[in-house]
């Protein structure tokens, strides 16, 4: 794979999980966007017809949210809030403008990523619950009309919040070069770790490409 001494950042199972969520999420967001903004009904055409988009959306949504819950479990230990996370947050301006010497050292995930993680967890739980409440014809008939109206509203708010965080996620992943390769193939270089997640190198369970069996 690499002749260089590379560090394992994402295990194979997690990588498959992540890209599965991306694929299901793409279908979910495009079809959902079609209902939220009827003028953009053509985005839902990814499912074929508007009727098919309506049928596919809740299923694709579940296929997005359930693996996301698996990722919640798998990445939980990396996302605990730590003491110097606040100092990193206060130095967010230096992070964004790449004033490297002023950025506090962080581990596997920086506090920005931890906020993102929490947002994805909260919104996907809310989207699943409200989505089931409004799911015609299977579950909606069991709920009061007024409850469904609130479910539709909360579903839309959570979807917008999630989309904004997806955009931020995409923006940061493509900006910090090497991240996308890390999520695709699992490995990042030692220098990449030193620059972006220095404390990751102190992890006693650190794996390199020389160790993992293929």
């Amino acid at each position: 794979m690499h002749k260089q001494n590379m560090i394992l950042r994402h295990k194979l199972f997690d990588r498959i999980c992540h890209w599965f969520v991306v694929a299901a999420g793409l279908v979910t967001f495009l079809t959902g966007f079609a209902f939220f903004f009827p003028s953009f009904q053509w985005l839902g055409a990814i499912a074929g017809t508007p009727q098919m988009a309506r049928f596919v959306h809740p299923i694709a949504g579940l296929l997005m949210c359930l693996p996301l819950m698996v990722m919640l479990v798998r990445y939980y230990h990396h996302n605990k809030w730590e003491k110097n996370d606040l100092t990193w947050m206060l130095a967010i301006k230096d992070v964004m403008f790449e004033n490297e010497d002023k950025i506090p050292a962080i581990g596997h995930y920086n506090p920005g990523q931890k906020v993102l993680f929490r947002t994805f967890v909260v919104t996907s739980i809310a989207l699943t619950i409200t989505g089931i409440m409004m799911w015609q014809p299977y579950f909606a008939p069991y709920f009061e009309a007024s409850a469904i109206q609130w479910a539709i509203l909360i579903h839309a708010i959570c979807a917008v919040i999630m989309l904004i965080f997806v955009i931020v996620h995409f923006w940061m992943a493509t900006w910090v070069e090497g991240s996308v390769a890390g999520m695709l193939y699992g490995y990042v270089s030692r220098a990449w770790c030193k620059k972006h997640h220095p404390n990751m190198l102190n992890d006693p369970e650190l794996q390199t490409n020389k160790q993992e069996k293929h």
């Binding site: 690499h2 002749k3 260089q4 001494n5 209902f35 939220f36 903004f37 009827p38 003028s39 009904q41 508007p50 009727q51 988009a53 309506r54 964004m96 403008f97 790449e98 409004m134 015609q136 014809p137 909606a140 009309a145 007024s146 469904i148 109206q149 609130w150 539709i152 509203l153 839309a156 708010i157 917008v160 989309l163 904004i164 955009i167 931020v168 995409f170 923006w171 900006w175 910090v176 070069e177 090497g178 390769a181 193939y185 490995y187 990042v188 270089s189 030692r190 220098a191 990449w192 620059k195 972006h196």
Partner: protein, 300 residues
């Protein structure tokens, strides 16, 4: 009806309104006079006949009302509301069908462009070919009228026999009404007739008689004369129907704010990318395939 007659269409906003030139056409209305109704169900049967609807035969539920509720195959239902007055059973017959609101909540909530329309004559109609079966109209309607069909997953309701009124006939229910409890005409005429009738009823002792034409939905295309206007619940009607708060928040606040938020995030991301530039790592351990040492990126 022609496309020029559609004055309101679901899935559009004020920025791109439906055809407005025939907006001044006079609106029509169905007038139901509950004080004249004897519950014969002719309206219910003629609706089913004209519209070729055959709801499955139900079972006896202890009421003369049958079926017990509106459905995708029952667009007009004679409701036998049972009320107790002076220890006596009273029936409050209610001709139950779409109210054809001036400001229809179903149309506001609809997720699909053109699946719900309002014609220049005020009739609110569903386009089944466009309906996706999301059920937003079902939960949004303050009168609990639209129903999803269990087989084709499309929403259905009374069309006010738009195919009949298009060629100058009255709706099938009005045509078959034997007591004159149902009338049809321009909204102006119906309001005038209703006014005379209510004055007469009050003279005869029904001091609370009044017209049910709720303001909250901008008035309706089916107006009703009730024995007691202070108790619309007796007829199974909501006291103050209107487009609900969550539907309004969703359409008028979340959608524009959401669009602004999404676009602002994309704009900030692009600006940041252009101003700050690439975030590259200087590799201290060049890859074996890297012969030139020019490529300092960590791209694999």
């Amino acid at each position: 009806m022609s496309a020029q007659d559609i004055i309101l269409s679901s899935g559009t906003s004020e920025l791109t309104p439906a055809a407005q030139v025939r907006r001044k056409l006079s609106k029509v209305a169905k007038l139901f006079d509950a004080t004249k109704c004897n519950g014969c169900k002719a309206c219910q049967v003629s609706c089913s006949e004209w519209n070729d609807l055959r709801a499955p035969v139900g079972s006896f539920q202890g009421s003369y009302q049958n079926p017990m509720d509106l459905s995708s195959e029952c667009w007009t239902l004679m409701k036998y509301q049972e009320v107790e007055r002076d220890n006596k059973l009273n029936w409050r017959f209610a001709h139950s069908a779409c109210m054809h609101c001036d400001d229809p909540a179903c149309l506001t909530a609809c997720s699909t462009k053109g699946a719900i329309v309002q014609h220049a004559n005020g009739v609110v109609d569903f386009d089944s070919d466009k309906c996706t079966g999301c059920g937003y109209c079902v939960s949004a309607c303050p009168f609990d009228v639209p129903r999803l069909d269990p087989i084709d997953q499309k929403a259905y309701k009374c069309t006010m026999c738009s195919d009949r009124i298009q060629v100058g006939q009255e709706p099938a229910c009005v045509k078959s009404c034997i007591t004159g409890a149902l009338k049809y005409g321009t909204r102006e005429d119906m309001l005038f007739i209703a006014d005379l009738r209510i004055k007469e009823l009050r003279k005869r002792g029904y001091v609370n008689a009044g017209l049910y034409n709720p303001e909250g939905v901008g008035g309706t295309g089916m107006i009703m004369i009730l024995h007691d206007i202070n108790k619309p619940q007796d007829y199974g009607l909501p006291a103050d129907p209107k487009t609900s708060v969550p539907v309004k928040l969703w359409q008028d606040v979340v959608k524009p704010l959401g669009a602004a938020g999404i676009m602002a995030t994309v704009a900030v991301a692009c600006l940041h990318r252009i101003t700050v530039g690439r975030n590259l790592v200087e590799e201290d351990e060049p890859a074996a395939f890297d012969h030139t040492h020019e490529d300092k990126s960590d791209k694999e």
